[in-house]
Amino acid sequence: MSDLRTTVGPLTFKNPILTASGCCGYGLELKEFFPLDRLGALVVKGLSLKPRDGNPPPRICETPAGMLNSIGLQNIGIEAFVNEVLPILEADGIPVVANLFGEEEEAYVALARRCEAARGICAVELNLSCPNVKKGGIHFGTVPEAIKALTAKVRQVYTHSLWVKLSPNVSTVVPLAVAAQQAGADALTCINTLKGMAIDPLTWKAKLHTTYGGLSGPAIKPVALRFVHETARAVDIPIVGCGGAATALDIVEFLLAGARAVQVGTLLFQNPALPVELEEGLRAYLDERGIPSLDAIIGKVKTHA
């Protein structure tokens, strides 16, 4: 039987299926649908220093093969997470990645320091790219110098795995990816949501309270794959893919493009037990082809040129 294990830098996950931040809560609701330890890792909802209420509704709407959201990073805050949620997740023995965001460098640093001290977090993922909150980090994610400075500062206080999550709303990703690597990132997550908007043609109202929101789901998969492929060739650190994965063949597509793990987001809303189906589908794919391990696939896309 094929070995589904993958490594992302120093971390080994039992399989490459991860959840995407903001699409799995803190794991507590998903636990009711499947045993969380079937996941490679759980990437929790973005955490800030203080709890946040988030944006007024409407916060979501459906779009062709995707959806827009502007949740506004509603969350319970790092303290409640560490004290109340983390012990439950730790008991499940599931690797937890803490997704972090702040409005200035100091906030990221303080969050990372708190994660460093906490038990049961295997990596932090810096969300530099959420397009929902006016100052929610968008400026960090589009300028190489800003990414470099922030990553380096967090690196100083955080000794475990440091992931940087990139935004697709940029002209060229390579300088950004290189900046994160130079500043000491252990892995890059590609991609966050695309900035978009929708209008109800009957009421003439913007479908989101914040007018603009983040586009996710299968619609953006081609963009996500392109970012994975581009960054995987530009840096030496591992890439974690994210964007529209829905089927086991989608997981294979991300691995072929160069991702060492794949986060599943929007599709969890449709089917909360999807990670188990993806794991089983991926195993069947490998077994049928006699592929012993993921390293035989990762980055192995055949280009024509």
């Binding site: 009711e32 959806m67 509603q74 929007t266 809303f269």
Partner: protein, 263 residues
């Protein structure tokens, strides 16, 4: 082997009955799920089988018994169009039962608008004494007032207050007018007002109930991406501050818990 700790089912469409006015009665086999459901709860149903539409759709449970789940579905957009043209025998993903129930109480006053009638019908069916209930049921025209025979079999005729905007059946106007008169005329009664329908109707019902000093519960109709608490998309502004998810803390809320002015 897929472990199933909460109910995700391949629901098989048993029967599909057009009721006119764009409404359809859908009966699914959903073993296990149906038996556990209570009035006010809902299910998420996948429409179609491709990447579009992507998200499942929430529907209140109209009635559930044994292995059979009954839904009342109005075709309004793409998802409901696909659902209401599904072939009998076809399967789709059904998730549930989800959310909070209406509190069972004698003498409850039910206020229904459109497909909002569904959870209230379930409520009446499950009630130990449906004859103690009153129903205020409004719609655009007589054609949009559904399952009247079933209601007549449950509640005494005098407890059925039908209202249509065009006056084609019952009183002409909005359902809130007779509701207000009724509460004023029965000041001693204490049964709660339970409302489900368009948001303005529920907002008005909540105000009328408060004025009459009656408890009021409403079933909110917010867009939902997941239905079980992980997307945070379905929130309503809370009196206590911040926002609450209408899929896990609701859809049935104590009307006093909702910050109506922020809606």
């Amino acid at each position: 082997m897929m472990p199933q700790m909460k109910k995700i089912l391949k629901g098989n469409l048993l029967r599909r009955t057009g009721l006119g006015g764009g409404y359809h009665l859908l009966e699914f086999t959903a073993p296990g799920l149906a038996g556990e459901a209570g009035p006010g709860q809902f299910v998420m149903v996948r429409a179609g089988s491709t990447h579009h539409p992507l998200l499942s759709r929430p529907f209140s449970i109209l009635w559930a018994e044994g292995d059979t789940l009954h839904l009342l579905v109005k075709a309004v957009g793409e998802g409901t169009r696909l659902l209401t043209t599904m072939g009998e025998g076809e399967a789709t993903l059904v998730l549930g039962p989800l959310g909070a129930e209406f509190p069972l109480a004698d003498g409850a006053v039910l206020v229904a608008g459109g497909y909002g009638m569904a959870p209230l019908y379930f409520y009446a069916r499950r009630h130990r004494c449906p004859a103690s209930l009153h129903l205020f049921y409004g719609a655009r025209t007589a054609q949009h007032l559904l399952l009247l025979d079933r209601w007549r079999a449950l509640l005494p005729e005098a407890h059925l207050h039908f209202v249509t905007e065009d006056g084609s059946l019952g009183e002409k106007g909005l359902v809130t007018a007779p509701l207000e008169r009724f509460l004023k005329a029965n000041p001693a009664a204490a049964g709660p007002v339970l409302a489900c329908g368009p948001t303005p109707m529920m907002k008005a019902s909540a105000a009328i109930a408060r004025a009459a000093d009656r408890p009021c519960y409403v079933s909110m109709d917010e867009p939902m991406a997941c239905g079980f608490g992980i997307c945070l998309g379905c929130v309503v502004p809370a009196t206590a501050g911040g926002y609450v998810c209408s899929c896990t803390k609701g859809p049935v809320f104590d009307a006093a818990a909702i910050r109506w002015e922020a809606l």
